[in-house]
């Protein structure tokens, strides 16, 4: 099958993300990248775990964290993971408009997550918890901030995909691109699951 061939629901392959050589390469390459990302976040988590009690004169994690905010952020990011699953469901059914719509919802949820994170960081800085203040501060902002940067990158990526393919429609050229984005987005959620458990919940327990 030619990558830019106009397809119909009947001729669209069952696994559009792996129907072309380029798609197969993207799939393998992207999972290799995710393995590397796992190692990146592991080093940040390990640093945080080693230094999270060293808060110097700044506030400790128990004084700082509030469960309701972390809970809302977790729910928003989990919901955005579901919306990107819906988007892939519509891709398999060759429904381009609905696929775009659900990607759009994912972007909105991701953006509200990021807005809450910016509010949170700003709030902490006013409480005297800064990146230069203590080892705990450095490790915290580096870990959670790297995750936030990944969310921001994902938002830019999704918007670029939506805008660039808005007139093209769904074909085997862009199906792997959307698929790989959804993998990336789920991976961000996987990292967040460990952040809310290790940083926020364990930080509250002490």
């Amino acid at each position: 099958m030619h990558v830019e061939e106009k397809l119909t629901a009947e001729t669209f392959p069952a696994e559009p993300e792996k129907a072309t050589l380029e798609g197969k390469n993207k799939f393998i390459g992207f999972w290799l990248f995710l393995g590397g990302e796992t190692v990146l976040f592991a080093s940040l988590f390990a640093t945080y775990l080693a230094l999270n009690k060293s808060h110097a004169s700044g506030p400790s994690s128990q004084e700082l964290f509030e469960l309701p905010l972390a809970f809302i952020m977790t729910m928003i990011l989990l919901a955005s993971s579901l919306t990107s699953v819906y988007s892939m469901y519509h891709m398999k059914n060759f429904n381009f408009k609905k696929m775009q719509l659900w990607i759009g919802l994912t972007v909105l949820l991701g953006a509200s997550f990021l807005a809450l994170e910016i509010y949170e960081f700003n709030h902490y800085v006013h409480l005297g918890h800064t990146i230069t203040g203590s080892a705990f501060g450095s490790a915290f902002y580096l870990l959670v901030g790297t995750h936030g940067a990944h969310v921001l990158f994902g938002l830019c990526w999704a918007i670029a995909l939506m805008v660039r393919n808005s007139k093209r429609g769904l074909d085997l050229y862009n199906a792997p691109k959307y698929y790989v984005f959804s993998l990336y987005w789920h991976f961000i959620d996987v990292v967040w699951v460990f952040i809310f458990t290790v940083v926020y919940l364990m930080g509250m327990v002490g």
Binding site: W31, G36, A42, A46, L67, L82, V193, T197, L201, M204
Partner: protein
């Protein structure tokens, strides 16, 4: 020709049903993830347990939730995911060693 169209229609109907089925599994695993998250927050926010009990418990919940994400949302339960498993589990292995190393030797 009519036979051929018929054939692809049957095929399409089958595939639609299969992806609807798969979507149902996704929604179920999403409900489970929400449930596990709520349990973890309640255990920390409202439960009055010793940290030695709560920390392993919420870590276990996180691991279960991540397995759901990887195997359902990221399709690792489907065929043709041998290479992804190799890459990801190598990453997880290095991650485990790094975390173990940092959380033990640094303060010794």
């Amino acid at each position: 020709m009519t036979n051929n169209t018929n054939h692809s229609n049957v095929d399409l109907a089958y595939r639609r049903r299969k992806s609807a089925e798969e979507m149902k599994h996704h929604v179920i695993s999403f409900a489970l993830m929400i449930f596990l998250t709520i349990i973890a927050f309640i255990a920390v926010g409202y439960g009055d347990f010793s940290p030695y009990l709560v920390v392993p418990f919420i870590l276990l919940l996180a691991v279960v939730q991540v397995i759901l994400q990887l195997y359902y949302f990221m399709h690792m339960n489907q065929k043709g995911h041998e290479a992804p498993k190799l890459f990801l589990f190598t990453g997880v292995l290095i991650a485990a060693v790094t975390v173990l190393c940092y959380s033990t030797i640094i303060w010794w």
